[in-house]
Amino acid sequence: MAASEGRLAENILYFARALRAAGIPVGPGAVLDALEALSVAHVGSRDDFYWTLHAVFVKRHEHTGLFDQAFRIFFRKRGYIEKMIAAMLPETMPGEPKAPPPGAQRIQEALFSGLNEREQDKSDVEIDARLTVSDQELLRKKDFAQMTAAEIAAAKDAIARLALPLDVVRTRRLAPSRHGHLIDIRRTLRASMKAGGAVIDLKYLGPRVKEPPIVALLDISGSMSEYTRLFLHFLHAVTDARKRVTTFLFGTRLTNVTRAIRQRDPDEALAACSANVADWSGGTRIASSLRAFNKQWARRVLTQGAVVLLITDGLERDADDTLAFEIDRLHRSCRRLIWLNPLLRFHAFEARAKGVQTMLPHVDELRPIHNLESMAELVRALSGAPAKGYDPKQMLKNVA
């Protein structure tokens, strides 16, 4: 019995390592939890085994897919679970589907590096992993190395010098305040105890203020490629300074790179971003990207008075009702929608493009963002009330 338990512990440990390599954060504590869970659960079937491990290892809904793949591949390969519950399981396991489902490649890579340490028969896995690369929709990985050292230094310096936004919103929470309007009975009573209750020195509470979350939607399509690097640096600086910044990149589809951009070193953060994105410098589908955002993320990240920075040139190929509908929905679900458009650098810029015309009525502000100066201006704008000169309606009037 002791020997088989030893095997169990070892297998769970390897499985946890594989999960970690595949991108599910699994700590050492979770391995102990898993062993405890398995010992109390009286696992009777493969399903129970699966859900028991799932309960312990998966802490996010998004990870369920990865976990599922990892579980199937890992325990197929090891044949361990079958041995363990063979006596109770009447039917044989279903075969693997032929086309690798999404996530399979990551898992196989993860498993491959995990198995490396104890097994030598890994060559087939390696080939598998290579093949699935060609299955991917796109394509080119943007090479950040092209940025010259001088460029990086200049941009970093300038961005670091920017005084970062200090926009605040009132929360419903209270904090001790000299000028508050609510009496803080707790502190008042404590203070009056000092004088034996004879003197009552009133203490006050006022509303606590907090920085609102920032959500950035950055267009990384081909027409924006000259700017994306700089914007990512900017977003990295903002993320570094403030806690609640969520960053999405979109070209033909939407990618959440918040975790990647949170790394301290900007170069590492940008490299991690580019590794996450498949549609670098491709076409733009603003409407469908906004749609994906509205549906999957808006209700999760646009809480507590969020400000949305939409960074795009607005050159949408198929500008139709969907775009108007989605941008309107986005506008209605955030506190402030700021459109940053690098094309505004041309003085003669006019809202001629159909995409631009569709989007303009639905944004609170339209600002240029093509150099460090406009970036600094944006920062100032984020700290205070909307500036008059950037009213999008003005732009529409000019065209008419």
Binding site: D33, A41, V56, R60, H61, R172, L189, M193, Q304
Partner: protein, 306 residues
């Protein structure tokens, strides 16, 4: 009394929930069983109306425990969630002590900050011993509070203890059964999730939804219940901003029974669509022809199944 003890297997957990008309799938029962056995909080996430809060309520009734509910909201602070001093009574006590000529300040302070003047809020209540066994603590919609409150919960959920500066640390002799729910309007920090067993509650499949419907709306006709479930299942496949949850299915079924409907027809569906869909965009998307098409599909499907 025997039926009030904790379940001893995954199957008995399923039975326990079924006793209170909660039809769970096996994955949920597994997580729940583990949470009970390991004394860990359970973190339940999912769309609105899939029965997250119900889990805690059902647990409390079937196990005969007290249900303590902490509804989270944005301004939630310690005085609403954990404890507060009864200031009025404290002031009176101080005045009385003075009137009696009690001059010892330390003594007054000691008396005033005692258990007697403490108003216990949900979290503190949950740590107290209960004759019926440790209570069920439901921390509902944790995503509505801010990060600061989450950080506070870490101590409570890890060690089941709370520190009141004036009194000392209160520790639960028997940890309560904790169910934390979230609608995922915001990501809850990993540190909090790490301490819990996580489960995502999805929409049920047709078979389970039918069981739920029949358990919860007993008076419903067989044919109507099948149609309702098939229609809602078809609706969830549509591209909607907010798909109807189980709660909406149940509401709709009750509404239809109230209206003495025996079988679905396009007009009735259009009239009562507001029970299922809560966004105007979704309702306009589902116009008369669309409803009819869906309904025809549902009918032919049911006919084929017979």
């Amino acid at each position: 009394m025997t039926d009030k003890t904790l379940p001893n297997s995954i199957d008995s957990t399923l039975d326990l929930l079924a006793k209170a008309d909660y039809i769970a799938d096996r994955s949920l029962a597994t997580v729940l069983y583990l949470a009970l056995r390991m004394g860990r909080p359970m973190f339940v996430e999912g769309e609105a109306g899939v029965g997250k809060t119900e889990i805690a309520k059902v647990l409390a009734t079937t196990l005969g425990r007290r249900l303590i509910r902490l509804q989270c909201y944005e301004g939630l602070d310690v005085s609403a969630a954990v404890y507060e001093w009864n200031y009025g009574a404290q002031m009176i006590a101080i005045r009385l002590a003075e009137a009696e000529g009690e001059g010892d300040r330390a003594r007054i302070e000691h008396d005033v900050f005692s258990d007697r003047f403490l108003i216990k809020r949900p979290l503190l209540q949950a740590l107290e011993p209960d004759p019926a066994g440790p209570p069920v603590l439901l921390i509902d919609e944790i995503d509505r509070t801010d990060e600061a409150f989450e950080a506070f919960l870490l101590e409570v959920l890890a060690d089941f203890q709370i520190t009141v500066p004036e009194l000392g640390t209160v520790k639960a002799a028997h940890p309560p059964i904790v169910v934390v729910t979230s609608n995922r309007t915001r990501e809850v920090h990993d540190a909090l999730k790490r301490r819990c067993l996580y489960h995502w509650v999805g929409y049920p499949n047709a078979e389970r939804e039918l069981k739920i419907l029949r358990a919860r709306v007993p008076g419903i006709a067989k044919k109507l219940s099948e149609q309702v479930v098939a229609f809602v299942q078809a609706l969830r496949k549509e591209d909607l901003f907010k798909s109807p949850g189980v709660a909406e299915t149940l509401d709709w079924a009750s509404a239809l029974t109230e209206l003495d409907v025996v079988a679905l027809d396009p007009a009735t569906v259009s009239d009562t669509l507001g029970v299922l869909l809560k966004y105007q965009d979704d309702i306009t998307r589902l116009d008369g022809t669309k409803v009819k098409a869906l309904l025809d599909e549902v009918r032919s499907e049911l006919r084929a199944a017979e």
